[in-house]
């Protein structure tokens, strides 16, 4: 087993254990902390895929902004006052559905012969990636900024509430 694979299995184990913590932990704040672990481990997976830029974005946006936002929402909705039972009665059905999906997709991923697979991963150059983003994908990029603006305004209006309330 090469050292690359050892690192992959380590990072994958971190990711999966973090995700298991998110869906199984009883304490909801622990869930959020496990989510941080899972998201940072996914950044490690991105580095193994030689997508450095995505890994940086992942750490900045998910490791920083999104988790802080979720912790804020927990604080404001006082979820700790809720009874500890955070799971619904549909738990066995959920486990069945998730297990069936996992089995099917793993089977499909392993049994498919992927065409045009490269022999060696090359590092994704920042320069080419940004050229592609700002030349070929400039219009979607602008639309994405519009989406962010609309989400910003919408979140402020929703969270602030109506006048005279």
């Amino acid at each position: 087993m090469s050292y690359e694979e050892v690192i992959f299995y380590f990072v994958a184990a971190l990711t999966v254990s973090g995700a298991l913590g998110v869906v199984l932990a009883r304490n909801i704040v622990h869930c959020a902390l496990f989510l941080i672990l899972a998201l940072l481990a996914v950044a490690g997976v991105f580095i193994l895929l030689s997508a450095e830029f995505l890994a940086i974005v992942q750490v900045l946006i998910y490791g920083g902004a999104v988790t802080i936002l979720i912790l804020f929402a927990m604080m404001l909705t006082r979820v700790r006052d809720l009874p500890q039972a955070v799971d619904g009665p549909q738990r066995p059905f959920a486990a069945l559905a998730a297990g069936a999906f996992m089995g099917l997709s793993i089977l499909a991923a392993v049994s498919t012969e992927w065409p045009g697979e490269t022999e060696e991963i090359t590092l994704v150059p920042f320069r080419d990636l940004s050229e592609s983003l700002f030349r070929n994908w400039a219009a979607p990029f602008e639309i994405a900024s519009l989406v962010l603006l609309v989400a910003l305004i919408g979140a402020i209006i929703l969270a602030r509430g109506e006048e005279g309330e």
Partner: protein, 102 residues
Amino acid sequence: MIPIQNFLVLSSILFSLGIYGVLARRSAVLILMSVELMLQAVSINFIAFAVYLSPEQFTGLIFAIFVITVAAAEVGLALAIVLRIYRNKATANVDEVDALKW
């Protein structure tokens, strides 16, 4: 060299755990966190396919960037909605938000 199947299996496991969380949890915030896990699985898939199958094009990587952008917008809006529900009904439990139920 890690085979592409390893990444696909990892993202399958991550996505299935997200499905389990969305279906089994009752707190709206926890459901959102499970949705985040599913989005992460999708991003891993996009990047793996981009890097392994068409390394001279960056379509998958660009798509992953857009997935992250839209996920950030989605989290902000969804948490604002959860806050609003909490203010109106004093709960973040999705089982108790049943005003549209027959």
